[in-house]
């Protein structure tokens, strides 16, 4: 940390400090202590509910029925993590979460790279209206689409026992398609990929064309490898978002337990966790629902630079 930094960064100093001269060492020191104290306090608050969950999962009946009930488990029940898989349909939920998240993420990466590439690199009649659509559609909140999309899937013609008019069967409800289709394109993803493709020089495209490569070949073999970092970013965002998606999945799988994902299953079963010693089972199930995302995040974290957040700002 240089002296210039210390003097010029305003957040450190109070309103009283009006001089531009370097402050005495003890004051700089105090500023630093305050800074890390604030960050540490915030971090403690961020971690508190998670720590509470891990501790709670390990409590046994002896702890919760003690008078007064004990906070720290006297005899940590590590077996609770095996119990959640034995006593709850955890394997089904987990498998569904993996399947749905992977399908959606793969679709979003495919559709976003294709559309983003076309919008960035071709001048065609659709480019301008489609780009405006992609930007504008992001303004529409999801709650607006829940009812209509539910019935579009319900009345999908010729699907799930429906006739050509969409009557008679259950349509796509009760299938993986109902969970995935409404998310196969992401406006944000198209926007993100377009911004990345804009940064790639046109010369590459022209050179490949002169060499006789087809448009699709150029996209697959030249352009895609160049935007790998953006693809990784989008993969991470999609994975996290759809692993955690709750409202839509619950709406379409309420009556289809075989299709429920982790958050939905845990939510719809919450009535079963009423007694005190079942709470630890619920806490363990929640821990299992959280861990995969954290693992993926830590694996891909180096891709996750702060600048990604700025892309939407400008």
């Amino acid at each position: 940390m240089t002296t210039v930094d210390d003097v010029t960064h305003p957040a450190r100093t109070g309103p009283a400090t009006r001089v531009a001269a370097p402050r005495p060492r003890w004051r700089r020191h105090a500023g630093s202590v305050v800074k890390y104290a604030v960050l540490a306090l915030g971090a403690a608050l961020m971690i508190l509910p998670f720590a509470d969950m891990f501790v709670g999962a390990l409590r046994g009946p002896a702890d919760v029925y003690a008078n007064p009930p004990r906070y720290l488990p006297s005899d940590p029940q590590w077996g609770v993590y095996a119990r959640v898989f034995r006593e709850l349909p955890m394997t089904t939920w987990f498998a569904n979460s993996v399947i749905v998240t992977c399908i959606i993420t793969a679709c979003q990466v495919a559709t976003s790279t294709m559309a983003g590439y076309a919008l960035a690199k071709y001048r065609f009649a659709g480019a301008s209206p489609l780009f405006r659509l992609v930007v504008g559609a992001q303004m529409f909140p999801f709650f607006l689409f829940i009812i209509p999309i539910f019935f579009i899937l319900r009345f999908a013609p010729l699907m799930g026992g429906n006739d050509i008019a969409g009557q008679g069967g259950a349509g796509l409800l009760g299938t993986y398609a109902a969970l995935c289709l409404p998310f196969v394109v992401t406006w944000y993803g198209v926007f993100l990929m377009r911004q990345f493709f804009l940064g790639i020089p046109d010369d590459l495209l022209e050179a490949a064309r002169l060499d006789g490569a087809s448009e699709y070949r150029i996209f697959r073999s030249i352009m895609l490898p160049l935007v790998k970092p953006a693809i990784a970013t989008l993969t991470l965002f999609s994975f996290v978002y759809h692993w955690n998606e709750f409202i839509w999945t619950m709406t379409v799988t309420r009556a289809a337990p075989d299709l429920q994902t982790l958050p939905v299953g845990i939510y719809l079963l919450s009535g079963a966790f009423q007694t005190l010693d079942q709470k630890s089972l619920q806490q363990a199930a929640l821990a299992v629902s959280i861990l995969p995302v954290i693992v993926v995040f830590l694996m891909l974290q180096r891709l996750f630079v702060a600048s990604n957040f700025a892309s939407g700002v400008k």
């Binding site: 957040a11 400090t17 969950m53 559709t111 076309a118 303004m139 529409f140 829940i146 929640l286």
Partner: protein, 295 residues
């Protein structure tokens, strides 16, 4: 971008092939649903039968006779404004300390943890922490002899709790947006301000804040839109209770649709909320831009 300008270098049908999934999706999952939604809002429809046209009756009922709807709109405002008014300055403050700290990777991971967590887990984790009797907070208060509030069973405290949890959930993300903006400010501007004899407070007001205003507008408006339409947390944490105290409009219309099976009225409610959000976002955007021009 010029729209009628075909690329002479070729491309042909290729761009259309590349955007075909986007176009199909935009039709089936954007244009048609919006139209269907507007149509439904003029009907009465229990999905077992067929929709019957009732004109503006659903809007009229919601706006003039449904007290629960207006209460939900009030709750939505309290939730969204509480979230923005407390959450945005907090994230900005955190960004100031975060952007000049060491060990950024560690801090970032910790503050981003809630964003990685599914909303059901967040709701339940906080239910455990805030439990009136067995939660860690009221236990800790109990040790000091204080009786903690009924976080989730008292109507006022329940709203306070869901706002605080929402802030907790989003603080890390907004902190990273702000810190990206802060780091993008050229350090030479600070040097110049220092040379001109500007103090810290003056530098903050006249240099830093104006420089990050685009980020500030972005975070404020996106947080506002999120807060107005977000109901997953409230659904899982309080279910809208106690006695409707945390029932926001999006949750109200959702329950109306999928529990009471009033699709027409629920669509009308959702459209009203959407219009409210649209108008207020626009007004906010204007106001924030206006101030930018004056400074």
């Amino acid at each position: 971008m010029r729209s009628r300008d075909f690329d002479p270098g070729g491309g042909g049908a290729a761009p259309w092939v590349f955007v075909s999934p986007l176009i199909a999706f935009a039709l089936i999952f954007f244009v048609v649903p919006l139209g269907f939604s507007v149509y439904l809002s003029f009907t009465r429809w229990n999905p077992l039968g067929t929709p019957s046209w009732v004109g503006l009756k659903q809007f009229e009922y919601l706006l003039t006779r449904d007290d629960a709807f207006w209460r939900s709109v009030g709750n939505t405002f309290v939730f969204a404004f509480g979230f923005v008014a407390l959450g945005v300055p907090l994230s900005l403050g955190l960004a100031f300390v975060f952007s000049r700290s060491r060990g950024k990777a560690v801090w970032r991971s910790i503050y981003y943890l809630p964003q990685l967590t599914n909303i059901v887990a967040i709701a339940y984790l906080w239910q455990f922490v805030l439990d009136d009797r067995y939660g860690i907070i009221n236990r800790a208060l109990g040790l000091t002899g204080l009786r903690g509030p009924d976080w989730l069973t008292d109507p006022v405290m329940a709203m306070v709790s869901v706002v605080l949890v929402m802030i907790w959930y989003d603080a890390g993300k907004n902190m990273l947006v702000f810190s990206a903006a802060l780091e993008a400010v050229d350090s030479e501007i600070y040097d110049a301000a220092t040379l001109d004899g500007a103090g810290a407070w003056r530098t903050l007001r006249s240099v830093t804040l104006p420089m990050i205003r685009p980020a500030f507008i972005f975070v404020t408006i996106t947080s506002f839109i999120t807060g107005m339409g977000f109901f997953a947390l409230i659904l899982a944490m309080t279910g809208g209770g106690p006695r409707g105290a945390t029932e926001v409009t999006a949750l109200y219309t959702y329950t109306m649709a999928f529990e009471d099976l009033r699709m027409g009225r629920a669509s009308a409610g959702a459209l009203i909320l959407f219009v409210i959000i649209g108008v207020l976002s626009l007004l906010q955007f204007r106001a924030l831009r206006e101030r930018e021009r004056r400074t």
